[in-house]
């Protein structure tokens, strides 16, 4: 029979493991699978891509680097196959929620069409 102490230790281990998991791996893999179903209403539109580039420079480039090539800090480069191949809905979920533990802020304050414009630009291969 487990003592209350061992149950408490087990709970703490689970909590720490959960926190470690949350901080590891790509955010793309942490988005709920139901988000994949959302489609980008602006996909393929040239004007959306150009507007997305402008918004990226204003909102994201300070951490992810100009053109998404990666910055000096922890923010990863975004010009990579994982982003090109991700479901647009997953990227939309990441922009909406961010990740407070990793320093990625929420961009929910941007209107939805502007978030889709950023995604359109991110997923356009150079």
């Amino acid at each position: 029979m487990k003592t209350p102490l061992s149950i408490s230790a087990l709970a703490w281990c689970c909590l720490l493991a959960g926190m470690a998991w949350a901080r590891s791996g790509s955010l793309v893999h942490q988005a709920p699978s139901r988000t994949e179903a959302r489609i980008n209403p602006l996909a393929g539109q040239e004007s959306a891509r150009r507007a997305g580039a402008k918004l990226f420079a204003r909102e994201c480039a300070s951490c992810h680097g100009l053109n998404g090539a990666g910055g000096e800090g922890k923010a990863p480069p975004l010009r990579q196959p994982e982003i090109y191949n991700a479901a647009p809905g997953t990227l939309f979920w990441i922009l909406r929620n961010g990740s407070l533990t990793r320093g990625m802020p929420s961009f929910a304050h941007l209107p939805e069409p502007q978030r889709w414009q950023i995604i359109t630009w991110l997923q356009a291969r150079p």
């Binding site: 402008k54 300070s62 951490c63 929620n97 990740s99 320093g103 802020p105 069409p113 502007q114 414009q117």
Partner: protein
């Protein structure tokens, strides 16, 4: 004497506007057109936003200008810290520094929800001459704005203020509600207040070109704020309330200009106040500062 003071006030407003227009393009201004209501949006980690919030009015015989210089820093994604330096100038009277405020905002839920709570805790050390009107609580009213500076500055206000901020985004609209409780640490009862605001950009879709006059750069909204009495006399009796349309314009170089005419709704409110402000955000200020210290430490 009064003419000189009014000229000084106009001169300062002009300097602020010109500085905003010709500021070099480094980063962007913050979000939201509100002056009193807080949304749940936090400062991005490492970013520093500098804002001036000014209010002018003529509740008695002389016009005043209350100014707060605000430094907002994103410590963590869930924690934003701000320092305010307050001052005021009154026509026919004097210009003085009235104190400081230190506030911290903590985001309580990690993900975005329909309603997002943020806890706000502030310590303020100001005097009775403060006219920044960053919040209205208790039975604050126009009489608090008319006393001679030499007398009212003697009153010390060391207060702790707590707010529950609730914020939502819905189809491009920003909706925020603030519930305020304030207590002077040495005396006086608990005072309560509220602020609610709604705003929206004029366009939800961004235009491809970099522009000053795109509709997406303009935000319009309205806020309503006022006092709710004290714990001994809770309610609307003898309280001030203001209805304030607000507008903000973010220039292509990142400077944000905002203005809000506020209309007093009760006899104890000042009849009309005009708020205006300028803000600018320095991206990754913390990292730049850290690099500066590392470089200076490594050089013999």
């Amino acid at each position: 004497m009064q003419m000189t003071c009014n000229w000084r006030i106009r001169q300062r407003v002009l300097i602020v506007c010109l500085t905003a227009l010709f500021w070099p393009p480094i980063a962007r201004g913050g979000e939201g057109p509100f002056f009193v209501t807080y949304t749940h949006q936090m400062e991005e980690p490492g970013n520093l936003e500098i804002t001036t919030k000014n209010v002018t009015g003529k509740p008695g015989d002389d016009r005043f200008l209350g100014s707060a210089l605000e430094f907002e820093y994103g410590v963590k994604g869930w924690w934003t810290s701000e320092m305010y330096l307050d001052g005021q100038a009154t026509g026919g009277d004097s210009t003085l520094f009235t104190g400081y405020r230190w506030e911290n905002r903590f985001r309580l839920l990690p993900r975005e929800h329909w309603i997002n709570p943020v806890l706000y805790v502030e310590f303020e050390n100001i005097n009775g001459a403060d006219k920044t009107l960053l919040e209205v609580v208790g039975t604050d009213g126009k009489d608090d704005l008319t006393g001679p500076n030499s007398e009212v500055r003697a009153e010390k206000k060391r207060e702790v203020e707590v707010k529950l901020i609730l914020g939502s985004y819905f189809k491009g609209w920003t909706i925020a509600e603030n519930f305020i409780a304030e207590k002077n640490v040495s005396h006086a009862p608990y005072e309560f207040g509220y602020a609610v605001g709604v705003s929206r950009p004029l366009a939800l879709v961004a235009r491809p070109a970099r522009c000053n006059f795109c509709a997406e750069n303009f935000q319009a909204g309205v806020e309503l704020y006022g006092g709710l009495g004290t714990h001994a006399d809770f309610g609307l009796s003898q309280t001030s309330h203001y209805l304030a349309p607000t507008a903000a314009w973010t220039l292509a170089n990142g400077v944000r200009l905002s203005a809000s005419p506020s209309f007093g709704l009760t006899d104890t409110s000042a009849r009309f106040l005009l708020r205006f402000g300028v803000s600018y955000e320095f991206d990754q200020f913390g990292r730049t500062l850290g690099r500066l210290f590392r470089n200076s430490g490594g050089t013999p």
